[in-house]
């Protein structure tokens, strides 16, 4: 899910807690106060991003056998300390949930069409993604 509103951690975590999942692992990405950075602007190619997130979710379920994968990524203006992304994986056991969570955030950063622009004291600059 892509959202231009604040991410409700209680809601997303709460909806993953079910009797069939003995372990729920969450990754929470936060806008970091790097030197000179005052905030972020996040932009997504939303239709393509949602398709890629769905593929990554299906891959994680197939690879690790987790029972649920939920992802919310913010767009729009974010302040320092705001939550930019949440990945929550539910599984019978913790090992698979940890592995799936790491897989999903790594693949998201590598594949999902989302970009960040840093607001700094000197002006704005796009965060450089890895080479194609």
């Amino acid at each position: 899910m892509i959202s231009d509103g604040e991410i409700d951690l209680v809601e997303i975590l709460g909806s993953s807690i079910k009797p069939d999942a003995g372990a729920v692992v969450a990754f929470v990405g936060v806008v970091r106060a790097d030197p000179g950075v005052m905030g972020l602007e996040v932009e997504a190619y939303e239709e393509a991003a949602l398709e890629e997130l769905r593929r990554i979710k299906e891959e994680a379920i197939a690879r690790f056998g987790v029972s649920s994968v939920d992802v919310v990524h913010r767009t729009g203006r974010l302040s320092l300390g705001e939550v930019i992304v949440v990945v929550v994986c539910g599984s019978s056991h913790r090992r698979e949930a940890f592995q799936a969570c790491e897989y999903v955030i790594d693949e998201l950063k590598r594949r999902v069409p989302i970009w960040k622009k840093e607001q700094t004291e000197e002006g704005e600059r796009w965060v450089r993604g890895d080479a194609c």
Partner: protein, 92 residues
């Protein structure tokens, strides 16, 4: 034929968020890029080096499927296709 152009991040700042361009039927991705460079000359420097070689710091999606460049510059376009141009992703 009409092609919808979507551009993101630095390429949005050059091309605008979205536009429709008219190009001749039978056009390929390379023809579209040349057309866009004529409309927005500053795009040429973002896509090509001074020697005229394609840079590797951008991606193109055709109907939300990533193209392999430079091979897919020969891909055929159809009426109402959506072509997206953007730099390497940097989410998370």
């Amino acid at each position: 034929m009409r092609i919808k152009i979507r551009a993101f991040a630095g390429f949005r700042e050059i091309l605008g968020k979205e536009m429709i361009v008219e190009i001749g039927s039978g056009s390929k991705v390379a023809d579209l890029i040349n057309h866009l460079c004529e409309i927005k000359p500053e795009l040429r420097g973002a896509l090509f080096s001074d020697a005229g070689e394609l840079r590797d710091y951008f991606m193109i999606m055709l109907n939300r499927r990533r193209l392999d460049l430079p091979e897919d510059l020969n891909a055929d376009l159809s009426d109402n296709d959506e072509v997206a141009i953007f730099p390497p992703v940097a989410g998370g």
